[in-house]
């Protein structure tokens, strides 16, 4: 999942391998930090910004637990270098609830018991909300196909499907 570089400001020069100043824009806040170029977006979020809601399940791009949005698009943060996100808007699970109110997808996950251990849940929710935005939740088969990058080992899948359908159907034809 590449980041759309066309909207990014040009980054010039060679940086690293030592720590370099980096500015990350996460959930509407700006974080000036220092990172080595080898740090993934996932590790930058978890280890440097203490935003641990984004989970590390495999660190190999196979499980989806680390799903975040970069400029609104679903991205596997374990396969994304943090430095490449400068100038882009990163959104994580911590930014989804507004003013203490759960997002309808979060509430639907709670109501439908769409998780057990909860470790894949932030990634599932980031994918599920994006799914509706992408227009990929029209049919049950669509939902199943386009959510398949997010593994739930507890197998809450039927309940996740129910949660997504509920939010989709409540969205005034949205």
């Amino acid at each position: 999942m590449a980041i759309n570089q066309s909207t990014a400001p040009a980054v010039t020069g060679v940086r690293g391998p030592e720590r370099e100043p980096v500015t990350l824009d996460v959930n509407g806040s700006t974080f000036p930090i220092e990172l080595e170029p080898r740090v993934s977006l996932l590790d930058a979020l978890r280890e440097h910004l203490d935003l641990t809601g984004t989970k590390k399940g495999c660190d190999q791009g196979t499980c989806g637990a680390c799903t975040v949005w970069v400029d609104g698009r679903r991205v596997l943060s374990c396969l994304t270098l943090a430095m490449s996100c400068e100038g882009h808007q990163v959104s994580t699970i911590e930014g989804i609830a507004q003013d203490g109110e759960l997002h309808p997808m979060q509430q639907a996950f709670v109501d439908h018991d769409a998780f057990q251990c909860g470790y894949c849940t932030p990634g599932q929710i980031m994918s599920a909300i994006a799914l509706l935005r992408e227009g990929n939740a029209t049919t049950d088969a669509d939902i199943a196909e386009h959510m398949s990058g997010n593994i739930c080992r507890c197998q809450a899948y039927p309940n996740i499907h129910a949660a997504i359908r509920e939010v989709r159907d409540a969205d005034d034809g949205g």
Partner: protein, 749 residues
């Protein structure tokens, strides 16, 4: 019983999970935290000849490197005992990095501790380790000649052989026999959170944030291996990202994290990488099974012989016990169950969801299906007819429900309209079939006395505590319900606290025993506190309840009320405040029935599946599943349904997707990631129904709760295989049933 018990309330920890605010054990922020990374052996058998650390140390950021040359010796040799027993529970009778010998591929040979994840990974890659390699035996095929029949399993806790009657004579005399052999690939748990331990020393005292299914087991094991007092080890775990058995035992990395933290003088977080999780916390072993049934023409079973062969480590006689259900779910006077082992170069296998019985039931339930076809009997009726009212010792079931589960499941799947003829229903390129299997999972009273504490403050708010762990089982929610019910308060004034060895002890939540033992202890604590509160009130001459018999006081909504006159009433809070009591607390305990209690102890269920099999490609799609279960009292049907549904879909994965093999050349697992070790994903999920059959059980605890963690998986793969037979006419004798297996006529048997 108050309305809160049995109510489908949402998870109380749901908001923490959907907002990402719940802290898992690898997310604890500590000043000066260092990052540990294990380096595993690159040979399956041999010796470490040399370790050159110079490049790794020069790479920068390295605080320390542990190898067999400088790792402290363990104070007590680890001895494998299941964590349910409440003793030190190392996953294998072995601790690595004590000498230079390599017993299995991936065995820890070094541990790098550095200032960041990246520095640790880089330094670990620069460690130059050379080995002297010896020929390894890591598969059944390579070790078959050295197989022996095990006497006991589980560190001597369980006999490996179970025999009654004369099975040889009964098979010879049987009017009908079925003989089937099976080959099962190894399975890996793969919880989404790999195991992680964060260790911090404060002088002689150690705190571990450990992703475990049993904080007490971690405490006991680490204290034993380090040789320090239990009182100096505190284990905390508030959220665990799944376990499925991989976190039921205490593996070497937990103690290594503590050793590393002491070595570098900093807190250390040690996380297993996904590939390491295939070689560091056990697995469901590669195995072969053979089952032989004898029956009369009337369908009555007269003989069952059930044999298992599997490979274990060089240090432990471990086999997941495959015959606990086949020896008792169907009545049969002549029975032999046995386990044979090969010692090889693997780590000790371990509990994996529905340990033993998921594959044991695959053998039994597909053989029962063969028998039904051999006899021309309906597979559902054959099972109901052979299900006895007593267990294999003649003891009545503590509660049953199996026949009702089978009948209800048959309704859900539309069994009445089923034409039993195999291979005759076609839709497009697909052959369609339906199948059934019975399910049972043992209730094992291995654990010691369980404790919980209930405390009420004088504003009426309540805290209930036990050391239980929340790894997705819903214990935080269901125990809040049990506490509210026992004390007679609303759930919203009550908080359930768990996941800390400083809290009253309960044993590891394993073997489907968590709900039974925790609910029993919590119930007894809440009831004890309630009785104390009532005793205070009726003895208090300022209370409107003064002088009443305690038995004529009922409690609800935080109020004590006379059963004779509802106008005589006062709240807990008023009573406490008037008596200048800031709070009142009670410890509750529950002593499990003896292991030899004179009752049959199984949780029963029934599984049904409908499949579509591509006749040209052999691809199996499960279209529908229906499971009906009788787990005694259901504390929260919403959560119990989720757990059973999860078990059924684990069965789907076991049936069609999940399998690993050790490469015979290198002794290494062929697959070590979630891209190749396939687990079910969204697109694999069928239409699925879960229902309960209500049964009362006054043996298994004060609330009559039996577990739901494993029974959902038992029989699920067998129902799918029986459906594949119904669709194609081919008997499946190998798992997973990949397209090749289906096209090759079913596999081994």
């Amino acid at each position: 019983m108050s309305p809160v018990l049995g109510k489908p309330v949402n998870r109380v920890d749901g908001p923490d999970k959907v907002t990402g605010t719940g802290r898992y054990c690898g997310e604890i922020v500590l000043p000066g935290l260092a990052y540990g990374l294990i380096v595993g052996a690159d040979v399956a058998k041999g010796r470490v000849v040399s370790i050159d650390e110079s490049a790794a140390r020069a790479a920068g950021g390295v605080y320390g490197i542990l190898t067999h040359r400088n790792t402290p010796k363990v104070a007590n040799a680890p001895h494998l005992i299941p964590s349910l027993a409440g003793q030190p529970a190392p996953g294998e009778s072995f601790f690595p990095m004590q000498d230079d010998v390599v017993h299995y591929w991936g065995q820890p040979v070094a541990l790098v501790v550095a200032d960041s994840l990246e520095s640790a990974a880089h330094a670990a890659a620069l460690l130059d380790i050379t080995y002297e390699e010896s020929p390894a035996v890591a598969t059944i095929e390579d070790g078959r000649k050295s197989a022996y029949e095990a006497e006991t399993l589980f560190g001597g806790l369980m006999p490996a052989r179970d025999e009654r009657g004369d099975v040889t004579a009964a098979l010879a005399a049987a009017e009908v026999t079925v003989d089937a052999s099976y080959r099962y690939a190894a399975n890996h748990h793969n919880p989404l959170e790999t195991s992680v331990t964060t260790a911090q020393w404060d002088g002689d005292r150690l705190t571990l944030w450990d992703s475990t299914m049993g904080v007490r087991a971690s405490q006991l094991t680490v204290a034993s291996l380090l040789g320090i007092p239990l009182s100096d080890v505190r284990v905390i775990t508030h959220f665990v990202g799944g376990g499925f058995g991989s976190k039921a035992m205490v593996w070497p990395h937990v103690t290594l994290a503590a050793m590393a933290a002491r070595h570098v003088g900093r807190p250390v977080r040690l996380t297993l990488t996904r590939p390491q999780s295939f070689t560091s916390n056990g697995h469901r072993e590669e195995q072969e099974q053979r089952i032989t049934l004898g029956a009369g023409r009337d369908g009555r079973l007269t003989a069952i012989r059930h044999q298992k062969l599997s490979i274990t480590s060089s240090f432990d006689d471990w086999a997941e016990p495959a015959t606990g259900v086949s020896t008792q779910i169907y009545g049969c006077d002549n029975y032999l169950g046995s386990h044979s082992l090969i010692k090889g170069n693997t780590m000790t296998p371990t509990f994996t969801r529905a340990p033993g019985e998921s594959l044991g039931s695959f053998s039994l339930e597909t053989a029962m299906d063969r028998l039904a076809y051999e006899l021309g009997m309906d597979p559902v009726e054959l099972r109901i007819m052979n299900h006895p009212p007593v267990d294999n010792h003649g003891n009545p079931w503590s509660s049953d429900g199996m026949a009702d589960c089978l009948r209800r499941g048959a309704e859900l799947i539309g069994w009445a309209d089923r034409d039993p003829t195999p291979g005759v229903r076609q839709e497009g390129d697909n052959l369609i079939g339906t199948g059934v299997a019975g399910a049972g999972y043992p209730v094992a009273f291995m654990m010691p006395v369980q404790h919980a504490r209930a405390r009420i403050f004088n504003d009426g708010s309540v805290v209930i505590q036990t050391s239980a762990q929340e790894f997705g089982i819903g214990v935080t929610t269901s125990m809040s319900q049990v506490g509210a019910d026992g004390l007679g308060v609303d759930m919203d004034v009550l908080r359930f606290e768990a996941g800390d060895t400083d809290l009253p002890n309960t044993t590891s939540a394993v073997g489907s025993m968590g709900a039974t033992m925790q609910s029993s202890a919590v119930h007894n604590a809440a009831r004890t506190l309630r009785n104390e509160l009532i005793a205070h009130a009726v003895a208090d001459d300022k209370s409107p309840l003064h002088g009443l018999s305690p038995s004529s006081v009922r409690v609800a909504d935080g109020r004590m009320t006379s059963t004779l006159d509802p106008s005589i009433s006062e709240s807990y809070a008023d009573m406490l405040q008037r008596n200048r009591l800031l709070d009142l607390e009670a410890l509750g305990s529950w002593t499990p029935p003896p292991f030899t209690t004179p009752h049959g102890l199984l949780t029963f269920g029934a599984q049904f599946a409908e499949v579509a099999v591509d006749k040209d490609l052999g691809l199996v799609r499960v279209r529908r599943m229906a499971g009906v279960f009788a787990p005694g009292r259901v504390l929260n049907p919403k959560l119990a349904r989720s757990q059973l549904l999860g078990g059924m879909l684990w069965g789907l994965g076991q049936a069609l997707l999940e399998g690993n093999q050790i490469d015979r050349q290198s002794g290494r697992w062929a697959l070590n990631n979630l891209g190749e070790y396939l687990v079910p994903v969204h697109a694999d999920i069928p239409d699925i129904q879960v229902e309960f059959v209500e049964v009362e059980d006054d043996v298994v605890g004060p609330l009559g709760v039996k577990g739901v963690g494993e029974v959902g998986q038992v029989g699920a793969a067998a129902a799918i295989a029986n459906a594949v037979f119904h669709a194609t006419g081919r008997r499946m004798s190998e798992l997973p049933m990949t397209a090749e297996v289906v096209m090759n006529g079913g596999g081994a048997g």
